[in-house]
Symmetry: C2
Subunit: 352 residues, 2 copies
């Protein structure tokens, strides 16, 4: 599909994002960090969580919903646990700091668990949950979604979000296993995409207030997402919300602010990242060999009729990463136009 | 339903289990621990993971598949992480020890993560994941299932198990939130129950080797369980298996031993438990008040038509715990007969 879409080299995209954030009042170092992380999201194939969010981020920064010059600080600190207050800065900056601290603690004690409050949307979990990998650690990540679209099981008020959880596990010669999932059948971004394309949603994505299937994505506001595994997905969302939100004195339930609809309002987004030092359990080389073996057993196992290939979690994303590093990030026409719009608004050089 | 089933007081059931394990060669202290934990499983309503497993446990002990007198020991130790070798003892003994160690580490550093290898089936996760609660901690639990019934997404060989994960979060006046779930639509115990009752399974529980719906529970051996959320549940099972199995040098994938079919063979079951000290993030009282508020917001939120009540994860189990503590554990006739059978085999006093 993306073969037909014009590509832009990662470096050029990063330089553009840097210009945008700098023009929006973000200090140069932070703007560079944001540019690198957002481009990495697009390189990994997280097309709904990368540069496509730039217009929204800029809107929130300019509306005062996000703090361009935050004082991100550790407000509670133990040998293996900490809480970071993001001072309402960009979530990417907060969670990079949280991941670094979790890694440091895991080096010292075997495990590091760092929560964040007063954070914001941080792009895809994969950016942070993979940071521990190069230190021979496993990463875990939990976040409160930036709007509530999921009711508790049996309910008809969206008190819960598509709260994502992610786990990253290093392999030796194989790409790492990276599971990054929301506990809903479809993420809300997919609903928006269907609406943009004028296509109906499959039965099973959403229900209306009466509990009947909702397939018209333009009526999404009248309905709710469905959780995976019925009460299981709803319970998973609640638990992720407690770990990433309540435990960090961040928003959960009715306190969650819809970051699209209320651009000028701080969200008090909560996230958590944990790093597990593999060496605390067994030699990393032995572990990674076992992971390689399991990956290959799974990939080469018998397939159902009609299935061409069994993919491991994160493998398709890894394939995109290699392709896009070499050939650039696909930028569909509508996205390019919206980026041009930001450039004109901020009076900066176009992406080119 | 259970109102029609004869009840037996928890103490009497525990005394019987103690006699059974003692007769099977388990030292008195360990036998008492097993009796208490197994009865607690039944009190909590885990009818598929409590005393109903006693015949299998005894069979495995007598066949040499489980070590009656294990030397359970810590084989790797860091300030916040450890690995325990269960020496092929009963999983309950191994995981109680693991939970205690995780709690100790969390007290000292903020987080404790303890893995176990050479363990065995330990009953329901709820037994261990709730142990941190009274220390004002959150509990997390991951386990490799005791047989493989789940293929990777797209596959037709069961390389994965119904690997459970559980999280327990304390509240103040409300019962704790306890999510204890497998990443499959139905647990395998439910399939066995349908077979016993001669009832068909609903479409969506299992598929056959061609990928077609399998509804005859007597043909369960020819098919596979379906994961929740398609590739998400399958990915979740893999990740749980890596955290609980591979990281602990325990069995995963093709190394998993079916503990029912191979009673004489050690399973090298892997489990992991983590404890998170709430005080490392915020005052526990403040946290538990926030959890109470969220629980009540959810319970009192608008319901879908036909829904009488919104239940929180673990709430029905808590209700059963109160009822069964007061009125005893329901023992269906078939279960009673199987317990009588064990007593005769071991030449010990009947349950009475």
């Amino acid at each position: 599909m993306s073969n037909d879409v014009p590509r832009v080299p990662a470096e050029r995209l990063a330089a553009f994002i840097l210009r945008v954030f700098t023009a929006a009042g973000v200090p140069a170092g932070d703007a560079q960090t944001l540019a690198n992380l957002m481009v990495e999201a697009d390189l990994r194939g997280s097309d709904t969580h990368g540069v496509i969010r730039l217009p929204l981020y800029v809107r929130r920064l300019r509306a005062g919903g996000v703090n361009a010059t935050p004082n991100i600080r550790v407000v509670s600190d133990r040998p293996s646990a900490a809480l970071i207050d993001g001072d309402n800065g960009m979530g990417h900056l907060v969670m990079r700091r949280a991941a670094e601290l979790a890694i440091e603690k895991a080096k010292a004690t075997g495990v590091g668990w760092v929560g964040a409050r007063m954070s914001n949307h941080a792009g895809p979990a994969a950016l942070y949950v993979t940071m521990p990998l190069k230190h021979d650690m496993i990463g875990l990540y939990f976040a409160v979604g930036s709007s509530n679209h999921l009711p508790p099981w049996g309910g008809s008020e969206s008190l819960l979000g598509t709260n994502p959880m992610a786990v990253a596990v290093p392999a030796l010669d194989e790409p790492p296993i990276v599971l990054d999932m929301s506990p809903t059948v479809a993420a809300y971004g997919k609903v928006r995409l269907k609406a943009q394309r004028g296509e109906p949603m499959p039965v099973g994505w959403m229900i209306d207030r009466e509990g009947k299937p909702l397939t018209d994505p333009k009526r999404a506001d009248e309905g709710h997402l469905l959780p995976i595994g019925d009460y299981k997905g709803s319970g998973l969302s609640l638990i992720i919300g407690l770990l990433a939100g309540a435990l960090n004195r961040a928003a959960i339930g009715r306190d969650v602010v819809d970051f699209v609809k209320e651009a000028g309002k701080p969200t008090n987004t909560g996230q958590a990242i944990a790093a597990l030092l593999i060496e605390a359990f067994l030699p990393p080389l032995e572990f990674k060999r076992a992971v390689d073996r399991l990956i290959r057993d799974i990939r080469n196992s018998p397939r159902l009729p009609g299935v061409d290939r069994i993919w491991l979690p994160g493998e398709q994303s890894h394939t995109k990463l290699l392709d896009r590093r070499a050939h650039g990030v696909p930028l569909p026409k509508a996205l390019r136009e919206s980026l041009d719009g930001i450039a004109r608004d901020l009076n900066i050089e176009l992406l080119g």
